[in-house]
């Protein structure tokens, strides 16, 4: 083996170990709930806990709602910017980056101040209102990822010509987005969706301050009171996130292929 190649492998192995060793250690620790040997009891305990099921289902529901609302906002906006207002792209990109710059805690304190029970729009006064607010907060949180994913998808197709081709065949704007643009960026959209889901599943700050029992809050509670279950939860959380990433890769194989030019 050539020295350069050997070094590449050494650096790769070092980098891989940096990520894998702590995970393996956490997994190994999660199996040591009994003195007599390795068992999956910590996992059984977590999965049979009613609060796990409730918080996970709730996070999943809010995640799906955030994805739907996010897509309804981002897809038409990114499409419009590409088609009619390319000069606005730097401004839109800056706006979509704001959630990365502004900490979630500032966002949630702003929400509490704006939508408390004595405000003009007392969303925090009801459970439904708080759920809506939480969904919208997650939409904002996922905006940088969702916008970039959709915009990257739009870059791979000739938005203007496809729009014009559909338009002259009689289609209106809504039909063009639904039948022509959306199906051609579906893989990018799903990437954005899974990234959103991964963010929502692990989110703690906003949900905790809005007093919502999401998966992140449940993990924190369990972590404060148990020893082995938090490790099992961490592994479960990683499996979910990696599952979402794996789905993105898998779906990329089914992407509509672009036309061959010859």
């Amino acid at each position: 083996m050539k020295p350069a190649k050997l070094w590449s492998w050494i650096i790769f192995a070092f980098g891989a170990a940096y990520f894998i060793v702590p995970l393996l250690a956490t997994f190994e620790f999660s199996l040591r709930i009994r003195r007599e040997g390795y068992t999956f009891d910590a996992y059984t305990s977590v999965f049979s806990d009613g609060r796990f099921q409730a918080s996970f289902s709730y996070s999943l529901l809010i995640g799906v709602c955030a994805i739907i609302v996010g897509l309804l906002i981002v897809v038409p906006a990114a499409y419009y910017v590409r088609l009619r207002a390319p000069h606005l792209r730097p401004i839109i990109e800056f706006i979509t980056l704001l959630p990365l710059v502004i900490p979630a805690i500032i966002l949630v304190f702003g929400y509490i101040r704006m939508y408390n029970t004595s405000s003009a729009l007392p969303l925090l006064g009801t459970n439904l209102g708080t759920d809506i607010l939480l969904t919208l907060a997650y939409v904002a949180l996922a905006l940088p990822y969702m916008y970039r994913a959709v915009d990257t998808g739009l870059r791979t197709i000739d938005v203007q010509t496809l729009t014009e081709a559909a338009n002259i065949l009689g289609a209106n704007q809504a039909t063009i987005i639904a039948k022509v643009i959306f199906p051609n960026i579906i893989v990018a959209v799903l990437s954005g969706a899974f990234l959103t889901l991964a963010i929502v599943i692990g989110e703690f700050t906003i949900a905790s301050l809005l007093n919502r029992q999401v998966f992140g809050v449940y993990m924190q509670n369990v972590g404060a009171n148990r020893a082995f279950e938090p490790a099992a939860l961490a592994v479960i959380s990683f499996v979910i996130t990696w599952g979402a990433m794996g789905m993105i890769q898998l779906l990329a194989r089914f992407a509509p292929k672009t036309a061959r030019r010859d």
Partner: protein
């Protein structure tokens, strides 16, 4: 008299202070195949896009069968269009692409399927309905794009440089196929191209555009043989230019290479002693045929280009040089480089342009 179908009336369009279409007036007949020909930036695509409704004119009107369509959205104009970049929907197979406009129009499925099959037969791609665009060659994709544009039976067809992305051989066969289909359907067609050969070979009439103005509008024969402006003469085909001086304006004679010749096309405005440019196509110049032509000049062969069925010679005439085309004759090899030759030009083939 031919029935007027499309009328373009004093059309003006400006982009960022640059007027790209400058009050264009045109009238196309029903069932006619008209090409908009010109160099990049001449306004041909902008005119086509205004007909389609993708651009709104600053002023002027577009009338189809007497009705002003300038205010209508593209999806209300009932026009078919084929784009340079094919623009097939990558997520749909060939049949779905062709049926897209029919589905939007609400055509029931049985009729739609029949129409798709009819269109596939028209473009010679029967059995390709289930294929996706990426599985087709460029020429096949463009044929599908043509079928998709024609499927909803539009009242007019617009072709925006549809052959530019294809290689030379496919380009020629596809343009013949487009023309054949257009004749079969009798659909009024506007074809944008910057390729003069394409425009000359396919069109009923050609609009030659330059810097947003119509330079000439006529049949290919007129455009090529009787160019009305210097731009048309130089843009369409190859042109020889010989520098001459007016000898006697009244008698329409000029001095060319030391000899005085009569030029019937000399304009009445010409004055004695004025420098003029005599222009003619390469095929109007013949070799060793002075007896049948009234302008005879002696020169030397400067270049010989063998083009297969035709041989193009460049002849040095001293002050001037002229290109001439002669058919390849297997029994007579072309003159050698530097060989003295005598050329003949019929004065009736000579056009006079201002210098």
């Amino acid at each position: 008299m031919a029935e007027e179908f499309l009328r373009i009336d004093k059309l003006v369009k400006t982009f960022g202070g640059n007027q790209v279409v400058k009050g264009v007036d045109l009238s196309f007949n029903k069932g006619e195949f008209v090409s908009l020909l010109g160099p990049s930036g001449c306004g041909k695509t902008t005119i086509l896009r205004m007909i389609a409704g993708f651009e709104r004119p600053d002023s002027g009107r577009i009338l189809v069968e007497g009705k002003d369509i300038s205010g209508l959205a593209p999806n209300q104009r009932k026009i078919g269009m084929v784009f340079q970049a094919y623009a097939l929907f990558p997520n749909m197979n060939v049949a779905d692409n062709i049926g897209f406009g029919l589905k939007i129009a609400g055509m029931p499925k049985p009729q739609r399927e029949a129409r798709i099959e009819e269109m596939l037969q028209l473009i010679g791609l029967s059995g390709y309905g289930k294929r996706y665009p990426f599985e087709l060659s460029g020429g096949q994709q463009q044929r599908v794009a043509l079928a998709r544009a024609l499927a909803p039976s539009p009242r007019m067809l617009l072709l925006d440089e549809p052959l530019s992305a294809l290689d030379a051989k496919i380009r020629v066969s596809l343009r013949e196929q487009i023309r054949q289909i257009q004749r079969e359907l009798g659909i009024t067609t506007v074809f944008v191209t910057h390729d003069q050969e394409e425009a000359l070979s396919i069109s009923d009439r050609i609009v030659v555009l330059n810097t947003g103005n119509v330079e000439q509008f006529g049949q290919p024969f007129e455009i090529y043989n009787r160019p009305q402006t210097r731009f048309v003469a130089t843009f369409v085909g190859t042109l020889n230019t010989l520098n001459a001086t007016v000898a006697d304006a009244g008698a329409k004679t000029v001095t060319l290479g030391g000899t005085t010749v009569t030029i019937p096309a000399l304009p009445a405005s010409a004055r004695n002693g004025e420098a003029v440019a005599l222009t003619m196509r390469p095929e109007a110049v013949s070799l060793a045929n002075g007896a049948t032509r009234d302008i005879v000049l002696d020169g030397k062969v400067a270049e010989v280009s063998f083009l297969g069925s035709v041989i193009r010679l460049k002849v040095d005439l001293g002050d001037n040089a002229v290109n001439l085309d002669t058919f390849n004759d297997q029994r007579t090899p072309p003159p050698a480089h530097g060989a003295p030759v005598r050329i003949g030009i019929a004065s009736s083939d000579v056009l006079v342009l201002e210098r």
